[in-house]
């Protein structure tokens, strides 16, 4: 019995609380499982939709840019290039927007029971990852269809790209989730910010096509660019731009730390606000 001792006191200091998060890993699993299950129970077309949407976008962009306004994507064919960008973009887009809303959507549970609150935005990110994995399968099929060469280094470059995306999404998502609880109308700005981020990411154009070096390095702060730099490395003969990746990795981890710090700092009062 002496094993479980809980000390309750007014909040002071901020820790990441990773050990507690680990203790609650099963709840983490169940929240993710619930969201995936509910999502696909409600729409039988859900899975197909998750696949059709990026494919449709890919066709539009391919039509636009390969015929009318060609973009040089090196050894990667444009449809493969743009689909790789779109599936990673969908991952961060849906992870950030769902994580941002998640605390408000789960307010009734937050008001009634204690658990490490980070589980909530965290599981939103995992749900987005689940959708991504299906898109990823389509992407691989497309690569075969276009006879795109995939270098064996994909074994670490693909996961690296995905991990950078997830870390960035989790950082930004938990930051926005906490902000949303405090300032309820903040949510309306999220879609707009994501829209801006879309054009600041090398999804439909390669970062290397930007002439101004300074602009390239400013855009490198955006973690999506680093993620795509990794993700496309095994598809292209061009080398990974280490400067871009270096800047991106630093900003990704700063984003993660800021997000978690802000979330942990405000989480004690979520139940009073929500």
């Amino acid at each position: 019995m002496e094993k479980f001792i809980t000390h309750i006191h007014p909040p002071k200091g901020v820790s990441l609380g990773l050990r507690e998060l680990w203790q609650y890993r099963e709840l983490f699993y169940f929240f993710t499982w619930r969201d995936i299950k509910v999502k696909y129970k409600q729409t039988y077309l859900g899975i197909i939709w998750a696949l059709l949407q990026p494919l449709g976008m890919m066709l539009i962009f391919t039509f636009l840019f390969s015929k009318t306004w060609p973009i040089n994507t090196g050894t990667i064919q444009y449809p493969v290039f743009v689909l790789s960008g779109l599936i990673l973009w969908n991952l961060i887009n849906s992870a950030v927007s769902h994580a941002g809303e998640s605390m408000i959507q789960n307010a009734n549970i937050i008001n009634k029971i204690y658990f490490p609150r980070l589980i909530i935005p965290g599981s939103s990110v995992l749900v987005a990852l689940f959708d991504f994995l299906m898109g990823f399968v389509i992407f691989i099929i497309l690569c075969f269809f276009y006879q795109q060469n995939i270098h064996f280094s994909a074994i670490w470059f693909f996961p690296a790209g995905i991990i950078v995306t997830i870390i960035a999404a989790f950082g930004a998502g938990s930051f926005l989730a906490a902000l949303n609880v405090k300032y309820r109308d903040f949510r309306y700005t999220i879609p707009f910010m994501l829209q801006v981020l879309f054009f600041g990411s090398q999804i439909i154009y390669p970062l290397q096509s930007i002439q101004q070096t300074w602009l390239k390095y400013v855009l490198a702060v955006n973690p999506v660019n680093t993620a795509l730099e990794f993700f496309r490395a095994p598809l292209s003969s061009a080398k990974v731009d280490t400067a871009v990746v270096g800047i991106g990795l630093v900003s990704t981890f700063l984003l993660l730390l800021t997000g978690i710090y802000f979330f942990r700092k405000t989480e004690a009062y979520f139940a009073d606000l929500a």
């Binding site: 001792i5 809980t6 006191h9 009734n108 204690y114 609880v181 009073d272």
Partner: protein, 417 residues
């Protein structure tokens, strides 16, 4: 042995926000300019809980009573770590399970079985523990047939039974319960309390139990603490605390008890209790305007074939007698009552009364000729408020809306061209 719960100087301060608890960014931005030139106005604050010192021994079952706003739920919320205290500290020795609501996290799209896993896991059960208890939980709930049907097809009673079954199978060392046992049908409630009692006695489980239902406190708790205005008044024997509460502190009158009963002048009828409750039988004194409100009387008929009927008077806060009701349903068909204990209930429908405080008088009487056996005046009172998430006669209109009653009426619209 060290206490299971050790509370020292615990206090919780809330900032009073006039309308909404959260802040809108637009307000901050638009007020920002004004505030630059104005001195910062301090928000009003109040202490929901203050200077609480309390030791609870392992295996102790402690009830918490007090008026609405006495700090009962705040205390449970702090101990279950949902909200942090402003001052003081608490040490909890043992795994804590808190039941501030039954069926927390239930999702209508998931099946009964899936919801057991979800809810169990939210309440702190490990997956392996749920696997082990699954059959027992399903069996206990009595909804085996529908266990693989989505929850949205369950009746509210079935949902409650399922939720209770999960709750009854929790086995933490310390269990915090808020009011929840008061919901659901009486028989199933009894079954749950029985099960919890069994577990708590054999495993020495420590329990803190908030309730407005004094009967279940009597049954369940050996000691009780009395809170008033955020302060701990006394901890002691449950019987003693209940009588202290009823005699000194009960001002919201969702419930009225008479230990010896109120005897009619002819000694034929004795009234023991009268109370206000919602559709689920939960005793409370605050309702939203769309809710149905029940008024019950518990009385004893002392000899066979006594004729009488029931009645109520309803007054608003200006002391206007809005309406009365005489029992012409059970009173007419079965006027001659046999000896025994009865509970009479009358329902005031939702969407009838506006916001405000109302007083209720209850009566047992003979109409023709009028012969009043018992008439307890203004013994119960309740408050009505608007819940904007529900469809009431207000809709989304939040300004002044006068009128003695507030029915929700049907409107028709015909296009004439």
């Amino acid at each position: 042995m060290k206490p299971a719960i050790e509370i020292r100087n615990l206090g919780k301060e809330y900032k009073l926000a006039p309308s909404q608890p959260y802040v809108a960014l637009r307000d901050i931005l638009s007020n920002g300019a004004k505030n630059l030139f104005k001195a910062r106005k301090e928000k009003e604050k109040f202490w929901a809980l203050q200077d609480i010192n309390l030791d609870i021994q392992p295996g102790e079952r402690v009830g918490i009573i007090g008026r609405n706003g006495a700090g009962k739920s705040t205390l449970l919320k702090i101990i279950s770590r949902i909200t942090p205290p402003t001052t003081g500290s608490a040490i909890i020795r043992g795994r804590v399970g808190s039941l501030l609501e039954v069926g927390t996290g239930f999702h209508p799209e998931l099946t009964g079985r899936e919801n057991i896993y979800l809810n169990g896991s939210i309440l702190g059960l490990k997956k392996a523990e749920i696997n082990k208890q699954l059959d027992a939980i399903i069996d206990f709930s009595g909804v085996e047939k529908f266990i693989d049907t989505p929850l949205k097809h369950y009746s509210s009673g079935m949902q409650l039974r399922l939720a209770f079954s999960v709750a009854a199978h929790l086995e933490p060392e310390i269990l915090l319960i808020d009011e929840v046992l008061a919901v659901g049908d009486a028989e199933f409630q009894k079954k749950c309390i029985g099960k919890m009692e069994e577990v708590s006695k054999s495993h020495g489980r420590t329990i803190m139990f908030v309730s407005h239902n004094l009967d279940s406190l009597r049954k369940f708790c050996s000691t009780t603490i009395l809170l008033n205005g955020g302060r701990l008044i006394e901890k002691g024997n449950t019987e003693k605390m209940i009588s202290l509460y009823v005699s000194k502190h009960l001002e919201t009158n969702a419930e009225m008890y008479w230990e010896q009963g109120i005897e009619s002048y002819n000694k034929e009828v004795v009234l023991y209790k009268t109370w206000l409750h919602d559709e689920n039988g939960v005793i409370r004194s605050i309702y939203d305007t769309t809710e149905k409100l029940g008024i019950s009387m518990d009385y004893q008929v002392m000899k066979d074939n006594v004729p009488f009927t029931h009645g109520i008077n309803v007054y608003n806060q200006e002391q206007v007698n809005i309406f009365n009701s005489h029992d012409v349903t059970t009173g007419n068909t079965d006027r001659q009552k046999k000896k025994g204990r009865y509970t009479a209930t009358v329902w005031i429908p939702g969407n009838l009364l506006p916001e405000g405080i109302f007083n209720i008088s209850v009566a047992i009487f003979l109409p023709n000729p009028l012969d009043v056996l018992i008439h307890e005046q203004n013994k119960l009172s309740f408050e009505m408020h608007t819940d904007y998430s529900k469809l009431s006669a207000r809709g989304t209109y939040s300004d002044d809306f006068p009128g003695v009653i507030r029915p929700l009426l049907n409107w028709e619209l015909i296009k004439n061209d």
